[in-house]
């Protein structure tokens, strides 16, 4: 059977699409409320720090950010191609590297909390 690297790209993309659909709207809503001046109690330093300090909190935050970043990087690659930017190898490299760097940064920041 022919081997392909596509599943490696495809799985986080599909998982990320699901995570984005289920989780990102409510997360945006929370920070949007904070932006409007109604900071939810859960976004106070004490509450959020306590959540991110726990193992489950770390895992949830990292999962949401890493999968969303990877999925949107893959979709942005397709979007660039669809808008007529046909330097696919360059676009893919830049976006995937950005997603990987963002994920590693998120993990490092979480480990510091």
């Amino acid at each position: 059977m022919a081997k392909s690297h596509k599943p490696v790209v495809w799985f986080p993309f599909a998982a990320g699409g699901t995570v984005i659909a289920f989780c990102i709207p409510v997360i945006v809503l929370l920070t949007f409320l904070a932006a409007l001046g109604h900071v939810p109690a859960g976004l106070s330093y004490e509450k959020l720090h306590a959540f991110a300090a726990g193992g489950i909190g770390k895992l949830v935050l990292f999962g949401v950010i890493a999968l969303s970043a990877w999925s949107s990087a893959h979709r942005l690659r397709c979007t660039c191609y669809d808008f007529g930017l046909r330097a696919d190898t360059l676009v893919a490299t830049v976006l995937y590297v950005a997603a990987i760097v963002g994920s590693i940064a998120a993990a490092l920041f979480l480990l510091r909390i």
Binding site: L36, L43, I65, I113
Partner: protein, 130 residues
């Protein structure tokens, strides 16, 4: 005598104006720009959270700038649009067969919407919105 070669004309940068369904496809694709940018904001937020209470308060204050409010409003629309189109597609992507019959498509999509709303309410509850 050779035949005239078939040349399919497809303008690479304006093709999606040809049909409403292409435009709908592209409007969904564009949501990835906002989700990607929002991910950057989340990573910056984590960095601020790790840097201590003062840094986090500064981050919350920076969120209140007009540019940030507009950006997050657009992100909210993009995220909801992405979610709705994703759930609408689930009935095509994962048809479910029980015995002889297929479960109706709107039941599959409806179940996703229900779980989505429930999950959002639970997150908002634990985040102290109400």
């Amino acid at each position: 005598m050779s035949r005239k070669p078939l040349v399919r004309e497809c303008p690479p940068t304006t093709w999606y104006f040809r049909q409403p369904r292409y435009l709908r496809y592209m409007s969904r694709e564009i949501t990835s720009i906002f989700v990607g940018a929002y991910c950057v904001l989340l990573v910056v937020g984590l960095q601020r959270l790790a840097a201590g209470p003062a840094a986090w308060e500064g981050f919350l204050l920076a969120l209140r700038s007009p540019a940030s409010i507009v950006f997050q409003f657009l992100c909210l629309i993009a995220a909801v649009y992405h979610a709705a189109t994703w759930f609408n597609a689930t009935q095509k992507a994962m048809p479910l067969q029980i015995g002889e019959d297929f479960v109706p498509g709107n039941v599959i999509s409806g179940a996703h919407y229900a779980v989505w709303i429930l999950l959002s309410l639970v997150v908002m509850f634990f985040a102290g919105v109400f």
